[in-house]
């Protein structure tokens, strides 16, 4: 779908509209979602349903850097859980949380299409593949 089509306010465009809203003004607040619902002509519960389903749409405030670790099967089989545990230890917060200094938000996501380099994660838009617990500290250092 093109950018132009996204501007057409129809219920089918709910996902595009949410993406646009997030790109424009950051994580989706209840006010933003309620406004979108009114302009698209869909119930606000539907907007919330879509926003909460997708990992790349956020309904909570995020930290400066967002860590998205894959939790799908190929990564899991390649010791993905050890990587998740290592990140949890390094940050001091579990998945779904933001560190107190707002430096990192730690999230578990479903397949990010990097199975050839499993276990994999994204930090912001940077790809990190073939992770081991030992590599975590070095990678996290690069993000302030």
């Amino acid at each position: 779908m093109t950018k132009k089509a996204a501007r057409v306010k129809t219920p089918d465009n709910i996902l595009m509209a949410l993406q646009e809203a997030q790109a424009r003004s950051g994580p989706l607040t209840p006010e933003v979602m309620a406004g979108l619902a009114a302009s698209l002509g869909v119930p606000s519960n539907d907007v919330y349903g879509v926003a909460s389903f997708y990992s790349f749409l956020s309904i909570r405030p995020l930290g400066r850097n967002v860590i998205r670790v894959c939790q799908s099967l190929p990564c899991h089989l390649k010791e993905g859980q050890a990587v998740i545990d290592a990140i949890r230890k390094a940050l001091g917060v579990g998945p779904g949380r933001t560190t107190e200094d707002s430096r990192f938000t730690f999230e578990l996501v479903n397949c990010i299409g990097l199975c050839d380099g499993a276990p994999a994660m994204l930090i912001n838009h940077d790809v990190h593949t073939d992770l081991t617990p030992g590599k975590i500290a070095g990678i996290l250092q690069k993000y302030k």
Partner: protein, 226 residues
């Protein structure tokens, strides 16, 4: 539309084209258990309880949304089908709180009824249960999402029958939940009409009428076998 012939549990039957397997089975007096299916509404196919074995099909098919085709050979109660249905009920029971003894819906609970019919005992699976606070502020509905088995009946009913769409599904996987507004509890002055449609349709005690102590319970009494 002409009639087509097919085989249902070894008996040849004929049915009009476009009918689903479930409709044909019910017309022929075969009881396929269902949970999410609502007559006259578009099938959702969420609960999978109505699965049947179709010869030549790689997997079991949901009978509520599969139309019959000429020459279809269907088994509605084969050992394989029954085993799958038992596991499905077991999975629903595993994440459902074990509070039947104090539940308002205990004597008219469809989940319990199905479990009894299929002779499902204690679930083998240990899973983390979801606990949500009971939403009892609204004068026309009490919602206890801990008891919800995600059959989506209330979502479909509110959308199709009442045309309101008060409920949606949110989150993902094990976290999936039927939400109201932006995942808020239904407050005292919300726009929910006093139609009781979703309450009547809820198979468990997740949705119920605000009721005072001593008031008569509605619904047939469930006799538990053995």
């Amino acid at each position: 539309m002409g009639n087509i012939s097919l085989t249902l549990n070894g008996t040849p039957v004929s049915a009009p084209q476009g009918m689903t397997i479930l409709e044909v089975a019910r017309e022929n007096g075969i009881d396929i258990p269902t949970m999410c299916y609502l007559k006259d509404l578009a099938p959702v196919g969420a609960c999978r309880l109505c699965v049947v074995e179709v010869e030549g099909s790689r997997t079991l098919v949901g009978s509520c949304h599969t139309p019959v085709t000429p020459g279809m050979v269907i088994q509605t109660h084969s050992p394989k089908v029954l085993e799958v249905r038992r596991v499905l009920i077991e999975l629903m029971m595993a994440s459902h709180p074990d509070t039947c003894i104090v539940c308002e819906a205990a004597n008219c609970c469809e989940l319990r009824l199905r479990a009894t019919d299929l002779e499902v005992g204690m679930p083998r699976f240990r899973t983390r249960m979801h606990y949500f606070p009971v939403e009892d502020e609204n004068p026309s509905i009490i919602r206890d999402m801990s008891k919800c088995i995600l059959c989506r009946r209330c979502v479909a009913a509110c959308d199709n029958i009442e045309g309101k769409k008060m409920f949606s599904l949110a989150y993902r996987g094990f976290e999936t939940k039927v939400i109201y507004d932006l995942d808020k509890p239904i407050g005292s002055n919300e726009t929910c009409r006093d139609c009781k449609t979703c309450i009547t349709l809820c198979p468990t005690g997740a949705l119920r009428l605000p009721m005072k102590f001593g008031q008569e319970k509605k619904g047939p009494v469930l006799y538990v076998k053995g």
